[in-house]
Symmetry: C3
Subunit: 356 residues, 3 copies
């Protein structure tokens, strides 16, 4: 059970998620849990009817379940019936377990430059740096050790977890969450070789814009553009240890799983879904509606159309499966070819014999 002011009735939560309360609608709940760990006051959810028995047996006070499942659950627990239990569970958790909100505060060990503009209700933790000319919007929380570079702009109600680094001049929208160790705006990776073989840095003097409601996982990196802007669109979610190269443009509501790398100038359009450990060559383009499986490799300049894609080089999943099935039969195919060669030789011999 959480804070008493976050305790809600089942009826209130059912209304919040647009579901139907079944059983004791006045029961009080204050937390979310898995079926394994649930206790009194907790809400659990069941997406698949095969887990209804487990849900009935668990200690939760309320089960969010598919429409029509309420009757099968009735008994000790209250039920919220809804077409999409998992979504309703997420919405309930937003109410019962909101993220920690730290109030207005500037830690004595923090360094906030005189020319920085810090909004109302901003939390600045220990050893944070907010550099000259930076702007931080109201309600934002900057946790210990984070660094906001010169002229960087952070929107309202963002959370910068410990040791996040924003290089100079980058821009974050509102409600952006950057997990610990994220680096935004480091130089892109570009060099030009001279006749003596020495690499000269191609100018990396562009910037980064991260739009509203983006969340980026721990130790991920988003490089500044060489010239122009590296952009991550509104509502996009990026997992830990992802690399986003210079001049990449990621659309809105894109999902990118852990350890994927996106090379320079590649475009990932809105609503694409990208697995983990995927590698993108430069100047590729992923069209809206494409889904790319984990560990896939996208060649430079490749256009990935809507549909499900897989493998290296990336190909439609169905094609990949067909080839992969053949691949599994390769040793057998070799045997079959050897057998055919033997048979053809024998046939030839028999024909030759007859011909004599």
């Amino acid at each position: 059970m959480n804070d008493s002011d976050r305790v809600k009735t089942v009826a209130e939560l059912a209304a919040h998620v647009g579901g139907r309360a079944v059983g004791d609608a006045g029961a009080h709940v204050g937390g979310v849990a898995s079926i394994e760990d649930a206790g009194r006051g907790d809400v659990v959810f069941v997406e698949d009817e095969k887990f209804l028995d487990a849900a009935r047996a668990c200690g939760a006070s309320c089960v969010i379940a598919p429409e029509g499942a309420g009757a099968k659950l009735e008994g000790a627990q209250s039920v919220i019936e809804t077409a999409r239990p998992k979504l309703a569970f997420a919405l309930v958790a937003e109410v019962l377990c909101p993220p920690r909100r730290r109030g207005a505060f500037i830690h004595p060990t923090a360094s906030v430059a005189p020319s920085a503009k810090v909004g109302e209700g901003v939390y600045v933790g220990a050893c944070v740096t907010v550099s000259e000319g930076a702007e931080v919007g109201g309600g934002t929380q900057i946790l210990a050790g984070a660094f906001v570079g010169e002229r960087a702009t952070v929107g309202r109600e963002c959370v910068l977890h410990p040791n996040v680094v924003l290089y100079e001049g980058v821009t974050l929208g509102d409600r952006v969450i950057l997990h610990a160790g994220v680096v935004v705006g480091a130089d892109g990776f570009g060099y030009v070789r001279d006749e003596a073989g020495v690499y000269h840095k191609f100018p990396q003097v562009g910037t980064v814009v991260i739009e509203d409601d983006v969340e980026i996982g721990a130790n991920a990196c988003v490089d500044r553009a060489a010239l122009g802007t590296t952009r991550v669109g509104r509502g996009t979610k990026i997992d830990n240890l992802v690399q986003v190269g210079h001049n990449v443009e990621i659309g809105e509501r894109v999902v990118i799983a852990a350890q994927t790398g996106v090379s320079g100038s590649t475009v990932i359009e809105s609503d694409a879904v990208i697995g983990g450990q995927v590698g993108f060559g430069d100047h590729a383009r992923v069209l809206s509606g494409a889904v790319i499986g984990s560990q896939a490799g996208v060649l430079p300049g490749k256009i990935v159309r809507p549909g499900v894609w897989w493998g290296t080089p990336v190909q439609p999943l169905e094609e990949y499966k067909r080839r992969n099935a053949s691949w599994g039969r390769l040793p057998r195919m070799r045997e079959e070819i050897e057998e055919l060669k033997r048979q053809v030789k024998e046939l030839t011999a028999r024909l030759d014999e007859k011909g004599e």
Copy 2:
């Protein structure tokens, strides 16, 4: 040569590793080295007899060598014979080159919350944060810039290297070593999409437990569970830049090399060995005794049985090798098929001719 109080005699070290001293057992040694760099007072080891000549020629005062090798080495150096020279060398290094031990200290720039409980002999470096309700066990060293979140628990004699981040409520056992930039307890990567296409965060309100004697490499990430616990078992060793997703369970004495990624709810049982850059889909299970080669890809839900596995999708190494050999012969197989088609056509023509 190191501190004089760490100087030992060859006899003492032979006893410590259960080996047999050959030659001058009273010789003093104080450090470990490679054969290339060794000087007076150093111990080196030889695992393979083919390096015995090099060992004899090097400047070390003591050679740890396979049983029976002492006679071949006798001369200027002392020898410790043992069945497992490399293991003995590691055990000797634990004595001669123990990790640095910083004594009780709290740096004036550190922030230790009033409600935090800090044990005896704890070292708290510059700009460290120990948050409200956190507990730190005796003899633990927390180096500069590290962050211990609210109600996080750190066991005894741990080392948190600079800029490590522990989110709120996570638990470390005793003698855990986290290298610089490790992040433990960041939110898992889980979202539910609503009808408008907006992603809502699936609650990430579970925790992380890292058991005794675990070591985790620089900039690696272990996410908190959505609900429940992400667990890393006792004695497990994880390399740099590894990603461990929410609700993952890793058993005891597991080894995971650099840049591997483990997706949500996957289980890796005790004593598994995982190479680098391996990718695990969610809800996979690696059974105890499995060894998975670098860059392998394990599909969601896959069960990996004991044995050596390779490739994407992961398969027994022997099968992979057979297929891979065939793959190398693919262009040749295509030629053979063309040749067979030609021959069959010719045979058919000859038969047709005869039939006339």
Copy 3:
């Protein structure tokens, strides 16, 4: 337009890059830009003649273009003709947009140990630690939260971005740039298992040497040697999130793209070019002149000769292409084999019939 003291004439820049000024050689320029974003006072470049029209139409004051292109551009803009426009553009950017230079300063929250030697004109940012016995060369900038371990040596005019961590005893040459979150000198990943299955740390007591003019991207890791030295040669450029294992030796002017991992004791000779997400097994050797494509996998002990290499296990690009083309035809090959089997069976039947 940038600082007025960085404004140059087209003639001055043409002389600097060894090019030929065409048109108004006295025009003033102060910045670099892409053709899309360029305004008055900016320099742009055109490498490929097909972009000449766009360059003529853009707002830039000066276009760097291939030899002979000046006539096609003449009009409002000044032109610098040169054999290598992109290189010239990089050289111009070095003049017009030099990296930020912070002057001599020690932030009051920084901790500089009494025995540390800090050169002239060194910038030490907020919450930086410079430990006992460390040395920092003149003109170096150490930004907020960075950590310089005991007896570590940093050369002249280096830049350590925020939260960089140098473990004890490592050495950086001059003009080394380490981006945010880089970790140099963490323990290598090496253990020896005893009879009880417990892993003992193989000693990781060597060091790291990073030579002059190396640049390493955000959150990348370079481990210390077990015994001896991990080395990154002069002028080498390493991208974000790369892992360099213990005892690795990287030569001069090597380029390694993001998320690549190099296992212990592997050697990458000078002037090699390595793509992103490549994996190297231990004790491999990449010869000077080799180019390895992204996501390739190099087996332990493999020697990679000069030329272009691709795939897992790594193979010459031409071979890979041939095999990959065959792979695409695999389902067709299976059909052809089935057809051949049918035909051979039929031929055999016809011959048998005749033989009767």
